[in-house]
């Protein structure tokens, strides 16, 4: 249970870190280390080089940029969870963080690191999809932005290239009156999700507008439910509508069967949790 040896660098600024990332595929970025180090301890990964970004204080921020909130690569989960900006604009994130590991892990782990790890049972990717977040990926020569929908591509897989860092994630401030819901079932709070369901929506003239729904824990990565969103748009919220949409969504997913929990149960969870989330979002919408 000891990590294999690696070359270690701890640059003082982003430019130096990005130069180090040009060394090739076998280099890993160490931010909070709460996913990477367990995998190194158990030798699931043995990177040749570690670039420790914990001295890049320039990336430790949660900033109000007018139309969006930007969260830098070194912002810890605990800081995001406790941020007044988050409480004001994204109470869904503060609430969801109760389900993300435990305080000692949240003290070290970072939001951007969590997104790059792209664990299929992680809550934050589903929330980024729902909120329409944008990822800013930087390498030594340029920057690019990709939507959350393009960012997550597979099991522990994102579009981030070996020479890139997720420099910040941008969360567009939701339109006034947006309601939200978050539900999860796992063995214990803080454990990996068996199913996580996230939704935001608005109510305009009694009808649902701009619904956004995402699931985690039921596939190889978090996904938006485009069909369910289309089925809700323009409709009057009702328990019958929510149940119908949820049942169809549950039938359409292909969840994994693991030792503790099989695919049928995960489908039942989606069918049960999705109406709750839609009801909560409707009640919070104004």
């Amino acid at each position: 249970m000891k990590p294999a040896a690696f070359d270690y660098a701890r640059p003082d600024n982003l430019a130096a870190a990005l130069q180090l990332l040009r060394q090739g595929d076998d280099t890993k970025i160490l931010a909070g280390g709460q996913s990477l180090v367990p995998m190194m301890n158990t030798r699931l990964v043995r990177p040749a080089r570690i670039v420790d970004i914990n001295r890049l204080t320039e990336l430790d921020y949660i900033a109000d940029r007018g139309d969006h909130i930007a969260v830098g690569a070194l912002a810890r989960h605990a800081a995001v969870k406790a941020s007044p900006l988050m409480a004001q604009h994204f109470p869904i994130i503060c609430e969801a963080y109760d389900w993300v590991a435990h305080s000692a892990v949240r003290n070290r782990g970072t939001l951007c690191g969590n997104l790059c790890h792209a664990d299929p049972a992680s809550e934050m990717p589903a929330i980024m999809l729902t909120l329409g977040a944008t990822m800013v990926l930087a390498n030594a020569t340029t920057e690019r932005t990709v939507s959350a929908g393009e960012f997550f591509v597979g099991l522990y897989e994102t579009v981030t290239e070996a020479d890139e860092i997720l420099k910040e994630v941008r969360l567009p401030k939701p339109a006034a009156g947006t309601g939200w819901g978050f539900e999860e079932v796992s063995m214990r709070k803080g454990d990996f999700a068996w199913a996580t369901v996230v939704a935001t929506l608005r109510i305009t003239g009694g009808a649902i507008t701009a619904p956004a729904i995402a699931l985690a824990g039921v596939g190889d990565h978090a996904t938006r439910l485009a069909e369910a969103e289309a089925a809700l748009t323009g409709k009057t919220p009702s328990d019958a509508l929510f149940a119908e949409v949820a049942n169809r969504a549950a039938a359409a997913i292909d969840p994994p069967t693991a030792a503790a929990v099989d695919a049928t149960y995960r489908r039942d969870l989606v069918a049960t949790l999705l109406p709750r989330v839609l009801r909560a979002a409707t009640n919070r919408a104004s």
Binding site: P38, D52, A101, S103
Partner: protein, 162 residues
Amino acid sequence: MDTIAIRLTVNGRARTANVPPRMLLSDFIRHELALPGTHVGCEHGVCGSCNVLVDDKAVRACLMFAVQTDGAALTTVEGMCTKGLDDIQTAFWEEHGLQCGFCTPGMLAAAHELLAANDDPSDDDIREAIAGNLCRCTGYEYIINAIRSAAKKRRERTLEPA
């Protein structure tokens, strides 16, 4: 193997060391600093028994490399009891908050962090604070009692006239 020189504060005392980058903080504490009060259970961040305070924040010592504590202030269970048991340890003693003691150092780190931020935690706050620490003896209730009792005594002490 190449080593890196680090300088840190351990339980209030300045220390220097040369560490290979792969050395976990938990191994550094036990094997290099010779402070065996920090316990190593699962070694992949699940059990919480290796929790220590780094710059007053509870962290998993098995999920940090020793080299990352360069410049930091490290507090282990040994640093919590320089003059006999401290108030939280005393409350664990009085309320039977431990049986075998394996999880206790990690529980104490979690309790320290909680009580530094919240002098009147609810039972839910206490449960949340120790949720990342596994105990296989007590069933947790006595630990919750101990932390509640420590908080109560701290509040009473601050209310006493000087």
